[in-house]
Symmetry: C2
Subunit: 341 residues, 2 copies
């Protein structure tokens, strides 16, 4: 790992501070769906359903052609972007693009931060989640959906020890230095959506289609989005100008051709309390992939927040109380790659 | 019905035209979840699941506390809104807030139109759909989800006769004057999401919670959203300054106290080809509710597009090729209620 120069980040933070107080000059806000296919379902029995109170019943044939496996993307384009390329923000597992839009305690999210820094921003919902919609299971999505409990993330996302979770907020134990807005934990739970664990190929295809449609670009990924981002770069190395992986949970397999990425600077960002067992197994896999990129002559840097003196950041660091400070460090790295005008 | 004065609409359209070419001064873009509750599930068997390729398997206990029945709301607040109150936009059944964001052929949606007219806009996804997430079924949501086929909307949404649908786009028959962007029908299908037909009470509760949180406001509803909007106004008449129901599919039952709404101007907007049997049954129910409001001394007007010379509009008129023209008529009505500065 090559920790990044503190002086560089400090200067960029000072430079970016006044921007945050201003409004945005927005050219257009809109959305689209990308990718997907038409699938045919046959052999299911018809049903009669009343759709609205007072409306007559309708006979519904559940068979037919369905549009499936598309991905939803929302964009905010600025009148005068300062960034050279659009910024694509890909969320993690069991969540949606809301990850980037807000913090559970109601502060502006990273979408707003990077807009204020001058990026055109594209926030998507992974295939199968949020506004991407989801398809009949198991006919289209194999297996069954997984629902995250309110408590699962407490330990997994390193807000506190796993045994510190309690249904009663008053009895939850967090890390003493936790930067997560603890009182808003249940509000954060409202951002959860079901997921399948059988649909990685379809999710990847939709991300790849997005890259073909809107890139060249800079891609920022979080958690489960990590491997989708690394793989999207492998699948279209000429389309990705830089990749920022925030707490990535997976990486391409041993033997994947990291040399394809040698022209794409990578930054991996880690929060605190990485001594939890799950993350002790995750991180070496990511470091192996970073090493492979570097061995091929590429750039794969690490922003280790505790090593920079920032303590207590969780896996959801874009929601932590110092979220703008962390975003400022990422913005400085983007600027250092020559990606701002 | 009282058709609205053509002269008024014409003047407003002229006044609003130059605005569309300009950018927006945006104060903040963000989102939140509102409403919902914590539900406990017990008695299901644990499972081992690999969440990301290369990540170690995790043992998941599907029982526990879950955050359920919340609603997602995204807002765009302007630096200097010209509207006196925020505009809430509620979509119809089997869809999400994307209804307002774009047209399937990629033109700006009504969200952008009303932002350009100077409204702070709040676009939500009904409880259970899109970024609101959905809960385990049948444990939390009774029954099973309903998936809309690609062809169902062709007749139901009055793009063409029901028997004009065909899987092959070249063989589809639309109404000769249809304003729907026909070549983008499959793209429109990508906006579909599953729905339950057992969750109206939870959907209504979330909308009511939103009204309490962000209103006074103007509410615009579409299709299945119609009855949720009419009922939200009944539940908080002091919070709703006006209600625009675009092709509403339901209304409060006979006996509901329309007198509560006498201070809330209502506008109902209808497209063309209402002679389809389903809509011949829907419309009188809406007209009954409008009459009840008027009988109580209130205002419940109708914007009948064919009567105004606009032919061929579908149920999805915010996506039709003349979507901005229709929006302009609605904007004129809003202005005529004294709701612009």
């Amino acid at each position: 790992m090559r920790p990044i120069q503190a002086a560089l980040f400090g200067a960029a933070l000072l430079a970016s501070a006044p921007v945050a107080a201003q409004g945005l000059e927005v050219r257009e806000i809109g959305s689209f769906h990308v990718g997907g296919r038409t699938a045919t379902i046959e052999g299911l029995a018809p049903r009669e359903i009343v759709f609205s109170p007072g409306a007559p019943p309708m006979r519904i044939n559940p068979n037919g052609d369905f549009q499936v496996e598309q991905m939803y993307v929302q964009y905010v384009r600025l009148t005068n972007p300062r960034a050279r390329l659009p910024l694509l923000m890909w969320h993690g597992g069991g969540l949606t693009g809301v990850t980037w839009e807000t913090t559970p305690d109601g502060r502006p999210g990273w979408q707003m931060f990077f807009l204020r820094q001058g990026h055109d921003v594209y926030v998507s919902d992974a295939m199968e989640r949020g506004r991407s919609g989801w398809a009949r299971s198991p006919e289209i999505f194999a297996g069954e959906p997984v629902f995250r409990t309110l408590g699962e993330g407490w330990g997994l996302f390193r807000v506190g020890p796993a045994d510190g979770w309690h249904s009663d907020p008053a009895q939850r134990r967090a890390f003493a230095d936790s930067k997560f807005p603890l009182a808003a934990w249940n509000q954060f739970g409202k951002q959860s959506v079901p997921r399948w664990v059988t649909t990685d190929a379809q999710i990847q295809r939709a991300y790849d289609a997005l890259v073909q449609q809107v890139c060249p670009c800079v891609i920022m990924v979080h958690s489960q989005g990590g491997n989708f981002g690394f793989t999207a770069a492998l699948n279209a190395p000429d389309k990705v100008a830089a990749l920022i992986a925030v707490e990535p949970s997976g990486a391409p397999p041993v033997g994947a051709d990291a040399a394809k990425l040698k022209a794409i600077p990578h930054l991996v960002v880690w929060g605190d309390h990485m001594d939890q067992p799950f993350w002790q197994r995750i991180r070496p896999n990511i470091e192996r992939w970073q090493a492979a990129i570097r061995d091929a002559g590429g750039k794969a840097e690490t922003l280790d927040l505790p090593a920079r003196g920032l303590r207590g950041n969780s896996h959801m660091l874009m929601m932590d109380t110092n979220s703008d400070e962390v975003a400022g460090l990422v913005q400085a790295w983007i600027a250092a790659q020559g990606l701002m005008r």
